[in-house]
């Protein structure tokens, strides 16, 4: 009786010790993963002369807005931000529309060469983006889209994996609804737009998140097609800050923090779509 009681408390102590270790490690994980964000957030309010103090200060002595005022007034940060918003939104809407149209045909229609075409499309997923960089630039140049929003947006619209994702989803939808709509006199586009698209909302949400965040963070393509500072997107602007203002970490921290903030806010509300988009985004390569 007594021994049994002893054994149980012993086991409980072991359990508590284990929980303490587990939570201590998790706290460390939080510090490593979130700490850098909190650190630049704090840094963005620091006065320049405190940035290189030894030992480094984490909390600012005095909170100042000068870094934010600098990037908004002296640098075209607001323009870069707006460019990023416009380009990411345009690419996302364009991709959803173009991919969904194609997915509708691949999922719901019989046509000549359908399976061969789909197989060839999937095979191109293997091609690394860097290989296509130079010819894509030359084509964009021929289309007179260098240094324009069009050059940022048009080549980025549409993706094989978006078509793949939406096709998979559309194949699970019942065809009875489509047929009912057709009998009621709905055109093919009407079936697509009024019947199939609303039902695809979850898959469209995932694709939207993947496309938007990918575009928001893209660096290489903007670097190639844009050299006018007024047309820079945020990642490009941040890269420029690094090369031109290497010493002033207050300014770079403010800019980096503002550039991450929108996705952070979206993430807090739509975490599920980010998690689901993980494998789709992964395949984009």
């Amino acid at each position: 009786m007594l021994a049994e009681k002893h054994g149980r408390t012993g086991r409980e102590i072991g359990r508590i010790a284990q929980a303490v270790i587990v939570y201590a490690l998790l706290a460390l994980v939080c510090v490593v993963m979130l700490g850098p964000f909190l650190f630049i957030f704090a840094t963005s309010f620091k006065e320049t002369y405190t940035l290189i103090s030894i030992p480094p200060r984490i909390i600012p002595e005095r909170f100042v807005w000068t870094n934010y005022l600098y990037i908004l007034q002296e640098l075209p940060f607001a323009t870069w931000f707006l460019n990023s918003v416009l380009v990411a939104l345009a690419v996302t809407l364009g991709t959803l529309f173009v991919d969904a149209l194609a997915a509708f045909a691949f999922a719901k229609k019989q046509f000549w060469g359908r399976d061969i075409l789909f197989g060839l499309m999937l095979a191109t997923v293997m091609i690394p983006g860097a290989l296509l960089l130079v010819p894509s630039f030359l084509i964009t140049n021929k289309l007179h889209l260098i240094n324009s929003y069009g050059g940022l947006v048009i080549p980025s619209i549409g993706g094989v994996l978006g078509v793949f994702l939406l096709r998979q989803f559309m194949q699970t939808l019942p065809t009875e609804l489509d047929d009912a709509a057709r009998i009621d006199g709905c055109s093919e586009f009407g079936v697509f737009w009024r019947v199939v698209m609303p039902l695809c909302a979850p898959a469209l949400g995932t694709l939207a998140i993947v496309t938007f965040s990918g575009q928001w963070n893209a660096l290489l393509w903007p670097l190639v097609v844009i050299n006018n500072k007024k047309l820079y997107t945020l990642p490009q602007g941040l890269a420029l800050l690094r090369s031109e203002f290497q010493v002033n970490y207050g300014i770079t921290s403010a800019a980096a923090f503002l550039s991450v903030l929108p996705l952070m806010i979206v993430f807090l509300f739509l975490q599920r779509y980010f998690m689901e988009g993980l494998t789709v985004g992964a395949l984009k390569g």
């Binding site: 587990v22 994980v29 939080c30 229609k109 084509i139 619209i157 992964a282």
Partner: protein
């Protein structure tokens, strides 16, 4: 429409003709739906692919109207140019280091978060995912301060622990390691989230049964849980490898390939040779080499995906 044709079509050939017409109409309608996608896909994927293969046999810069044909000379140059050899060495070194590091630490983190004792698993999963929200440019900005010599936080911690000061970004011996550290921080969430999902898919009965049979947690993890997660781990390894070979953004912002090419990667080479040094042929040839590396790995990836679907 169809019934109308039947009424008229006493003639069999007319019926066949009618069927062909509906088939043609159906095909045209389907092609109308894929047309916008197809136009973009051909313009910015198919044509650039073949064009890139062609460019790899030419010599010239972006604006040269005539680019002389040099055959496989670009590829031969790749084998004895000192920068390309450094680039290959860096890429392989980086892949060999980053992939096992990422997968093993992600497994450890997944087991930590997936532990029976842990509540708010969703919160911790969100925490490890969080750095993925930052662009490589933003994370490079953050880490350039953290890794700075003297006043950087990392070196300060090293000093507290009695470790020597490290010039993370300016010492050619450790710069690649610094890139690895930053990329690990930004990308680890991907693997952890996948592993957590796979762990939840392992039937609890199996683990409980093993526990009743006297297996300890380590044995359950290594003999039951991890083997059942194998397809996902393989997927993780493949994706990690593909990304690692295509490393660019973080390098571009943090070190721009330096110091002395110690962080120059294959994509860095493509970008610089095409858009800085005006050697399109060499850039394209490097792109083809990258294709030759990525393609077999991607092939494995598609096979894995095909099986898990």
């Amino acid at each position: 429409m169809a019934s109308g044709s039947l009424a008229m079509g006493s003639d069999a050939s007319q019926l066949v003709w009618q069927r062909r017409r509906t088939a043609l109409k159906r095909n045209l309608s389907a092609y109308a739906f894929i047309l916008p996608f197809l136009v973009l896909f051909i313009t910015f994927n198919v044509i650039p692919f073949f064009w890139a293969l062609g460019l790899s046999t030419l010599k010239g810069d972006l604006v040269d109207p005539v680019k002389p044909f040099v055959g496989i000379q670009n590829f031969i140059n790749l084998t004895h140019d000192s920068i390309t050899l450094t680039v290959f060495k860096n890429s392989i070194q980086y892949v060999v280091m980053v992939v096992p590091t990422a997968v093993l630490t992600a497994l450890a983190l997944a087991f930590l978060i997936g532990n029976r004792l842990v509540r708010f698993k969703g919160f911790f999963r969100g925490v490890v995912y969080f750095p993925l929200l930052a662009s490589a440019a933003a994370s490079a900005q953050i880490w350039s301060y953290l890794l700075a010599p003297r006043f950087g936080l990392v070196n300060y911690l090293f000093k507290l622990l009695g470790l020597p000061e490290i010039y993370w970004l300016s010492d050619p011996r450790v710069a690649l390691l610094a890139i690895l550290l930053v990329e690990w921080w930004r990308g680890i969430g991907f693997h952890v989230v996948l592993f957590l999902a796979a762990m939840l898919g392992v039937p609890v009965e199996l683990q409980e049964a093993a526990r009743i049979d006297g297996a300890n947690s380590w044995q359950i993890a290594t003999r039951i849980t991890i083997p059942l997660m194998r397809p996902v781990i393989l997927f993780s390894v493949v994706m990690g490898t593909i990304w690692a070979f295509q490393l660019f953004d973080t390098v571009f912002v943090l070190t721009n390939g330096g110091p002395v090419h110690s962080t120059a990667t294959m994509v860095w080479y493509v970008y610089n040779y095409a858009f800085r040094y005006g050697q399109i042929g060499m850039a394209a040839a490097m792109g083809v080499v990258l294709l030759a590396i990525i393609m077999p790995i991607s092939f494995v990836q598609m096979r894995v995906l095909g099986r898990t679907d």
